[in-house]
Amino acid sequence: MGALDRISQIGGQISGNPTAGGRDKILQKRPDDIVVTACCRTAFTKGGKGGFKDTQAADLMTGVLKAIIDRSKINPELVEDIAVGTVLAPGGGATEMRAASLVAGFTEATAVRTLNRQCSSGLQACVDVANQIRAGMIEIGIGAGVESMSTQYGPNAVSEFSELLEGHKEAANCKVPMGVLSEDMAKDLGVSRASQDAFAAASYQKAVKAQKEGLFNEEIVPLKAKWEDPKTGETKEITVARDDGVRDGITAESLGKIRPAFAKDGSIHAGNASQISDGAAAVLLMKRSTAEKLGQTIIGKYVCASIVGVKPLLMGQGPWKAIPKALDLAGISKDDVDIYEINEAFASQCLWCANELGIPQEKINPKGGAIAFGHPLGCTGARQVSTLLYELKRTGKKVGNTSMCIGTGMGMSAVWVAE
């Protein structure tokens, strides 16, 4: 039978590698696998300026939910629950998202909830739905994420800390702004400005190339949006189909000229941190047996996910702790993963995590990341699923991992297989 399987088996016996054969195992197709039969996202556009600057989060979500129905041809009545990760929405956006599902074509029978685990909300939504299916609570669900940073980003995101919280040192650290703590972390861990700029420039260059080659076409759903021209004050309807934060011609040298944003002698600036953006993404999940019964096309499968905590001031280390745990739960080694989608909150933390884990650069974010096209907080985790699965499929690879750091000091990661 498979010579490569035999070689890897013998290799595993000799090296004593406890994860030998693990990849084999997760590549197996079982009827109770949780599979993805449709996934997509909107284009990501620049906060305050881009194509979606005048579009509400709920409208973005309506767009991707409609697209999920169109793409999968699923009967909307069969979808029992929708979880939407969203971070900045007042009231958690619960009311608006329920309304969005009805506009999108779901009936009153489909339940909707929102959740907030900061930057991993979109992934958490997918994982929650997968777990609901695995536990037998529902048969079919949608994990999604959305953020309109244009309309909802601002100082109201955190309320004043009470004296009680302020009096506890580690607790008080939870509200140190991301930029400030990342600046300190980069300094403490010795991540140089030059290496950050090189990483960020690579993200831009990969995204430009991917955009030119049309590699985002499968994942992006073009959406019509109303947009007010800031010069003329005229409102017109435009179709948004491409990430407008991606800029051509960016090099490590050009980034090297930008003034640091958080400290005079600092290393972090607008060019090597994630962009503020608007966007939405969704993932349709069900058991393989259900998908086969309904004749759904299986794009990939969800294997497992991990959630970890790290020090609030070192929140950027989240993926460094979450990725090994997710791989452990999947029973595979880091070399068994073909593509890592690590959210680029800051070049400094993403680069540090990848280096600590010994993940080769060519496996990380092959189509660029949040530095190049943006990080709509609640959306990112769900966005990564589309980006990853379509890229795995295009390149004929199989196993992928998504991860991100989470404000207040957490990390989350999940393992996926493309089919």
Binding site: I10, Q13, G16, P18
Partner: protein, 350 residues
């Protein structure tokens, strides 16, 4: 080491060797081209004569051979475990082709063992995660025992025809009793976690070792509740199947790489021999003849009686000769060699 008989399996890398249960001069070797990774298999039936080791017969197969077992009812027949998932029954009186072909396993068959008591059946295990029981006269298996992961080794208890053991990649040694009524457990009576921590009342908990694939196991020929296991973690352990949660009776660390094959002596209740990827074959006493060394409980540490290091590649198979004054063994390795030698010589220096 003075006298050692040698045979070369030119072009084929042996995976297993077995002495005939009928003749002291007959040995069979299951071998594969290209280290069993891709290519044909060849079964050698060898005879010992005054002129050394001679080929009596060879049989070629389309895929690699990983194990073999002599028939217990017909001195001329034997079964082989084949890489394409089949098991083939060859007769030394019939040229070239197998007299029976048993093909149900969906992946590589890794082990076969003939029932030594009733002599009317044999058992096989496979990468497809199942153990199957067969009659040599029927093409379809009699029973399938689902394990769920690659099973490298299975065998019948030498004294009880209803007991079957199986060792797998998930670090568990499973015991099946065919006398139990058919149920959802498929005759599984115990599942011994080989790498679990020791839990003994009143004793400090022993740390668990990391789970690792078990590649080989064998029933003791005198104490019919004792099984030895060996595998990727390089340590040989013995277990009493009456106390599946009790942890190892004894441990034998020493091999530098995974233990590929082990066999208890048919002549002494405490002696076993093992072949390893570290290219050595080692002789051990499990320490059961000594008074308990460890009054606090916990496993006793066995003693290495000797090392045979004449193989120049992975040592993959080893077997004891049932006849004579006791102590002759056959070992094979990927160096394309079959070596017959007296294990007593390993102890001569002591």
């Amino acid at each position: 080491m003075a006298s050692m008989l040698e045979f070369r399996t030119q072009g084929f890398n042996p995976y297993a060797v077995k002495y005939s249960p009928y003749y002291d001069s007959r040995i069979a070797v299951a071998s594969s081209a290209n280290f069993g990774i891709v290519g044909n298999g060849r079964l050698f039936a060898l005879g010992l004569s005054a002129q050394g080791i001679q080929v009596e017969k060879t049989f070629d197969t389309n895929d690699a051979l990983y194990d073999l077992a002599w028939s217990e009812i017909n001195e001329n027949q034997l079964v082989v475990a084949c890489g394409d998932g089949s098991i083939k029954l060859f007769d030394l009186g019939v040229n070239d082709f197998p007299v029976m072909n048993f093909h149900e396993h969906k992946r590589e068959t890794f082990a076969v063992c003939w029932n030594p008591v009733t002599k009317d059946s044999f058992v096989s295990s496979s990468w497809d995660g199942t153990v199957k029981i067969w009659s040599p006269t029927r093409n379809q298996s009699i029973t399938t025992l689902p394990i769920g992961n690659c099973t490298y080794s299975t065998s019948f208890c030498p004294s009880n025809p209803a007991l079957i053991s199986a060792a797998s990649t998930d670090s568990h040694l499973r015991i099946y009793d065919l006398r139990t009524p058919p149920s959802a457990k498929y005759h599984l009576v115990s599942s011994i976690p080989v790498h679990a921590p020791q839990t003994l009342p009143g004793a400090p908990a022993q740390p668990a070792s990391a789970p690792a694939e078990i590649l080989t196991q064998d029933w003791n020929k005198y104490r019919d509740t004792v099984i030895a296991t060996g595998g990727v973690d390089r340590v040989i352990r013995t277990f009493d199947i009456r106390n599946p949660a009790g942890g190892a009776l004894s441990v034998m660390p020493g091999h530098d790489y995974a233990v590929r094959k082990l066999a208890w002596s048919p002549h002494a209740s405490d002696v076993l021999i093992s072949a390893s990827y570290d290219m050595t074959v080692r002789l051990w006493s499990d320490g059961s003849m000594q008074p308990a060394m460890n009054p606090n409980g916990g496993p006793s540490v066995g003693r290495q009686l000797g090392v045979m290091n004449r193989h120049t590649e992975f040592a993959t198979g080893v077997d004891w000769c049932l006849f004579g004054m006791g102590g002759w063994v056959a070992s094979v390795g990927w160096d394309e060699r079959v070596l017959l030698w007296d294990s007593n010589m390993l102890m001569a220096g002591r």
